[in-house]
Symmetry: C2
Subunit: 537 residues, 2 copies
Amino acid sequence: MLGPKFPWLLWAYACCCSISFCGRVVVWPTDASHWINVKVLLQELVLRGHEVTVLVPSSNLLINYQDTSSPFTFEVLQVPFSQETLDASMEDFLNFWMNEASNLFPWEIMWTMKEQLEVFTNMSKQTCDTLVMNSHLIAKLQQAKFDVLIADPLSVGGELVAEILEIPFIYSFRFSDGNVVERLCGGLPSPPSYVPASTMGLTHQMSFMERLQNFLFYIFTDLFFVKFWRDEWDGYYSNVLGKAAVEWFLFLHRYLSLAEIWLIRTYWDFEFPRPFLPNFEFVGGLHCQPAKPLPKVSQLHSAIGCSGEHGIIVFTLGSMVYNLSDEKSNVIAKALSQLPQKVLWRYKGKKPETLGSNTKIYDWIPQNDLLGHPLTKAFITHGGTNGLYEAIYHGIPMVGIPMFADQHDNIAHMVAKGAAVQVDFNTMKTQDLADALNTVIYNSTYKENALKLSKIQHDQPVKPLDRAVFWIEFVMRHKGAKHLRPAAHHLTWYQYHSLDVLAFLFTCTATIVFILFKCSASGNYTDCLGANGRLES
Amino acid sequence: MLGPKFPWLLWAYACCCSISFCGRVVVWPTDASHWINVKVLLQELVLRGHEVTVLVPSSNLLINYQDTSSPFTFEVLQVPFSQETLDASMEDFLNFWMNEASNLFPWEIMWTMKEQLEVFTNMSKQTCDTLVMNSHLIAKLQQAKFDVLIADPLSVGGELVAEILEIPFIYSFRFSDGNVVERLCGGLPSPPSYVPASTMGLTHQMSFMERLQNFLFYIFTDLFFVKFWRDEWDGYYSNVLGKAAVEWFLFLHRYLSLAEIWLIRTYWDFEFPRPFLPNFEFVGGLHCQPAKPLPKVSQLHSAIGCSGEHGIIVFTLGSMVYNLSDEKSNVIAKALSQLPQKVLWRYKGKKPETLGSNTKIYDWIPQNDLLGHPLTKAFITHGGTNGLYEAIYHGIPMVGIPMFADQHDNIAHMVAKGAAVQVDFNTMKTQDLADALNTVIYNSTYKENALKLSKIQHDQPVKPLDRAVFWIEFVMRHKGAKHLRPAAHHLTWYQYHSLDVLAFLFTCTATIVFILFKCSASGNYTDCLGANGRLES
């Protein structure tokens, strides 16, 4: 018997693990605000010497692959749907949630959700097809020897590409309806008694009726997920990978569960404390940074300069909402006109007739720099996570006008934490908005609570961006992070909940009780047994 | 209406949150190996400019309060039990687990456990009494204006002192039987299907029978905890605080749940991945550090120098086990004598007759420096977390001879991760130990796996010691960490598990089914209703 000849080599290897290296990262991005967030992470990876390749559909919303100054390499997937088709689908989606949903019954909303899901699922499948049916492209990607893939579970396909390229993958993720993806695929424990389902606008402290509502919504979203999403994609994955879906946990379910790390785009300044797993890292606010001073000759600088002691209000409804109805924009503009603050409104729609002299409309505003300006008093927001985190970072109280997706949820979190007032987009009157703004500006507890959240965001052992980069580099260095993967993924749902153990114990107990009952009914034990010693019924 | 006059003051306050300051820390320590670990943390706090006061019982095992070179201030609690009484109780405890327990039936072990618990609980209560009945001391401690208290849930009383001093507290913790304290008081979710109860020696991947065993052990430990520990202490807490224990969740239970942060003395190199909460921080290995070179004129240096290519084996059974039976020590010494390695054995007992020329016995050894020596091939350990983490840190494979407490569990973790072989202390034969050592030394996978664990330990965004200090300082800066406290603590057990929701849904369903059944049995719906439209039975 001989020991390893060069144990010091193994030792040296172990010690070298923390030396950084230049890795190759491939990205299966999600569009819109998701891209805005993940772009900051990818830019940081490039700054640290890694090569980043983004697989981008030729028709998309916000990923400008023709930008020659971009630090990323773009691999364009020539999708069969046109830019116009995509824009129209998004327009329909926004129009439904902003103008129609509030007048419909729940089952009508559910039906439309199903239809919308079908539209976007078809586009996602077509996007996947452009890659999985292109052997030339696959060979090219395989030759590139990527170290890791970054994806978002909302854009299904990333895990499929990682499987084909045989590389580990990491998710950057904000939410799914009812936390269903995190729970069912990520294995995230979510007791419905104090973990509110996302999109419900509930908090962690619920009344009995709210807990009932939350419990039922968990069941509803689980069924919706299985019926209209997982089953749909299982067939696709099964076709692509050429295997029959005979395993207990089906294709998509299994592949999503293989993510090495889930980078969740929130933190405990925003989240209600809840259980999580060691391969979940909460990196909310990774895109935030100190405000840069505004150029002294800019219109914005002048507008702020003449705001006086009253300061300014920053107003945006996000990167997706360009337009409002005349009625709605006039209600808003009139409310803003009643305030002594200067209002800087990012808006591309028609100029409202009621626009006050204190309100300036801009196609685009440097949102982070404005929120970090010392004169900023409040932020009117639709409740998108990116903008909301910039407000947290700079300690600005908010007025939330949520419309769809996670926005109701996000604003509910800020309201529960005392840093925001919510206004209903559909029923909002001029006075409602004016009152809400006056409340968050002149009731100092809102500012104090916003600053408390800001302190939590700033006071972390490692900045969120650095943590996110650390775990991506960790996965590249170690070819994964298997030591963080819970054994829950090897269990069926009834095993996970110990239902088989309970059934066994129940059966044993029932048998014993039955025998004892029979014996006592018969007077004594020997009466229960026949001549051959067997139990007689 | 006027806004806050100096909003920039609030802002400046928010920005200052990360500036370090010199805080006052008071410690309610747990003795033995717990103290060895927490001492390193306290030394680091002193190095960073904080004042540390340790409340130490006059009779204790390892806390040397007469050491004038100590960086801590000691406040000695004059306990009524003598050093001899404490030593004898510990001797009885060790003797039972090392020599008697293996020959007893489970219920006999349980009975002895109950008796041992009573002995140590009485001593703990007497220790608490010396503080809570000493108004002069309480006044002195209150005047000291401590910022935070550090305790260990195994030494009950820390949370009581924190309550009296009205300061936040933090736990440094390794384990409790069946994770019962973490689960029931900390709110840590622990699905028994893949989170093995501590002290059971199970892993995260269990067969049906193991899951059944684990499930039953959870129930057993919960009942044991409630009956022999919580009820006992609830009476005491109720007396001291002068309140009737009328709340649903009783005194001890509630006070333990108030810990701001739980610093768990393990990490994911050791732990199986499991759910946890944001106020749990896994800081295992915080006491580990690079090996210092041995003095060139020391006996140890000479012993290692002549070990040649075979290298050395480090052997210790921890800080509590001083002696072994003649039979046991001879079995061990004979096994060691068969090896080509030099063996450095920390042992205070009688020199075994079979001691080989390759084995040197020392009263004390610089364990960390030896484990970090390039010639060290293996570590023979009882499985205490401190030594085990030093082996992980330096990537040394282990032979585990566990005896009591968490030791079986610790070694089971290392065996499951392929870095150790376990030998049964009670049935061990000479050849068993020799074979185990040859396996971990000459089968290179053990060294490779130990180095993998070492890489995980070294490759963290922040070192465990720095993370532990960060969260202690965070609690001092922010007067707590309430934003990390889960709402689960406000729920009863049946609310937590949504049993009231399930009962409600079951009742509703049963009522509907009953009505439908009645209607169908009666032929049509109108038959179910009486003349006045009410349901008739």
